[in-house]
């Protein structure tokens, strides 16, 4: 396991720093340029959610490994944590095509698509933790 990076997000600068940290890790691990762009886009979206809805929180970026029958799987995990208002109806937020925030394909379903694994834990009033992994192919 490599070192982890933790970036505080409470300004737009924090979003850029989180992206930068993510891109560095992704490059180090050997992700191609499309996957790099996907990972940073996912980080952007998560960090922006924190900035917009929770005011502050943090993004943690860390390399992960998983032992498999045919060797070791390596990847990058992004975790976004905040103590904001939380999400009332996760199922609705995860639904396709119904983000109020403009564009097609955006929002948390977009983050889920950009990454390989996705987990969300949130309850109204108790903050949100989202964790997502991209595996090296």
């Amino acid at each position: 396991m490599g070192i982890q990076s933790k970036v505080e997000v409470h300004t737009e600068w924090g979003i850029v720093s989180a992206r930068q940290a993510g891109r560095n890790h992704a490059k180090d691990l050997g992700f191609g340029s499309v996957d790099q762009a996907r990972i940073t886009t996912a980080i952007s979206e998560l960090a922006r959610n924190i900035y917009l809805y929770a005011e502050k929180g943090e993004i943690i970026i860390e390399p992960v490994e998983e032992v498999q029958s045919n060797g070791m799987k390596r990847g990058l995990r992004i975790t976004a944590k905040d103590q904001g208002p939380g999400i009332n109806n996760i199922r609705q937020v995860m639904e396709d095509g119904f983000t109020t925030s403009g564009g097609l394909g955006a929002g948390l379903p977009g983050v889920k698509r950009l990454m390989d694994e996705f987990e969300i834990d949130s309850q109204s009033g108790q903050g949100t933790t989202i964790s997502a992994i991209k595996w090296l192919r």
Binding site: G32, V34, A37, T41, G97, G103, G105, P109
Partner: protein, 337 residues
């Protein structure tokens, strides 16, 4: 069937190279064919751009460094399109599923309608009911009581589609569970009104006309709940008159009274019951007149009742460019002898 990314990359390199040498339309045609292929292989647009970039970096080693960087920038922009592209795929799958689901529901709904028209010696009955979309908010119903009297209902749920269909199934079961008394139109509507008022959402209303035909004496009794008036055809005078029944729409108030009307039916006369999808048939020139309907009916009045309703429907469907704007139901009951 799916080609690997490496195979596609190789193909792209080949056709691009050929195009750069020959610069002809055939090369661009290959590009378009390739477009279909990558999409069948679910390559997202950002992957396509990246594939292109890899290849031209190879082909043009002296590409200005800034130009190469600019594509990293473009790639970042294309990620958004990639997301939209993949959302599209999943949306399409979901839509297909939903469509299939509604087809099943529409078939189920058909089973709520009478399987056949009851046979009564002296009567000739025709009925047609066609939904505007897959599911219908029109309903009709026939019942023959122990005295050989024919009960006939025609109803229209205000609204269309799935909600109207749900409401329509309620009406069916409500009618099934009414006490099996003699079929008096007014009393029946009063009963039904109470059920609707209690069970249906406040913003759902149902209009209905209910009639009872006594073939022993050839009297037709009927009452209506805000429903589109039908027609009565008088064979002797070859004339139509309105079959109107005053009464509140079902579900508006708890207690409502429905006046009972009655007609003495002579040989050759017929009763026309319909939903407003027939009369509010809208063409480019606006709604058609009720008189145009009666003219149409008269035009086919020499035919059996079922052929009459079929023909009237075909003519009105054609008038609207084969796109119904409302559910369409038409019933004709003629005294044969």
């Amino acid at each position: 069937m799916a080609d690997s990314y490496a195979i596609l990359e190789d193909q792209y390199k080949k056709i691009l190279n050929k195009y750069l040498q020959e610069k002809d339309e055939q090369g661009l045609y290959h590009a378009q064919q390739f477009s279909k292929k990558v999409m069948e292989n679910q390559i997202s647009p950002e992957e396509m751009v990246s594939l292109h970039l890899e290849i031209i970096e190879d082909l043009f080693p002296n590409l200005p460094a800034g130009a190469r960087d600019s594509f990293e920038f473009l790639l970042e922009v294309m990620i958004g399109y990639g997301l939209a592209y993949r959302e599209h795929q999943s949306l399409r799958d979901r839509q297909k599923e939903l469509e299939a689901e509604i087809n099943v529901a529409a078939n189920m709904q058909q089973t709520l309608l009478p399987k056949e028209v009851p046979y009564i010696d002296s009567l000739d009955i025709g009925v047609i009911s066609v939904p505007a979309s897959k599911m219908s908010g029109d309903y009709y119903h026939f019942v023959k009581d122990e005295n050989g009297c024919l009960g006939v209902a025609i109803a229209d749920i205000i609204g269309k589609g799935v909600p109207a269909a749900l409401c329509m199934s309620m009406i069916k079961y409500a009618m099934d569970s009414l006490p099996e008394q003699r079929l008096q139109p007014g009393a029946l509507l009063e009963n039904l009104n109470r059920v609707v008022e209690q069970n249906v959402a406040a913003n759902m209303f149902i209009t209905m006309m209910y009639g009872s035909y006594d073939p022993r004496v050839h009297h037709f009794y009927y009452s209506g709940a805000g429903h589109e008036p039908g027609f009565y055809y008088n064979a002797k005078n070859d004339s139509f008159e309105e079959l109107y029944a005053k009464g509140l729409v079902l579900g508006v108030t708890r207690e409502a009274n429905f006046r009972e009307y009655h007609k003495k039916v002579e040989v050759g006369d017929f009763v026309v019951l319909l939903s407003d999808g027939v009369t509010e048939c809208r063409t480019d020139e606006g709604f058609i007149e009720r008189e145009e309907i009666t003219n149409l009916i008269r035009q086919y009045s020499h035919m059996p009742a079922q052929e009459m309703v079929n023909n009237v429907f075909y003519q009105l469907e054609k008038l609207q460019g084969f796109q119904l704007r409302d559910d369409f139901s038409l019933i004709i009951i003629r005294r044969k002898v």
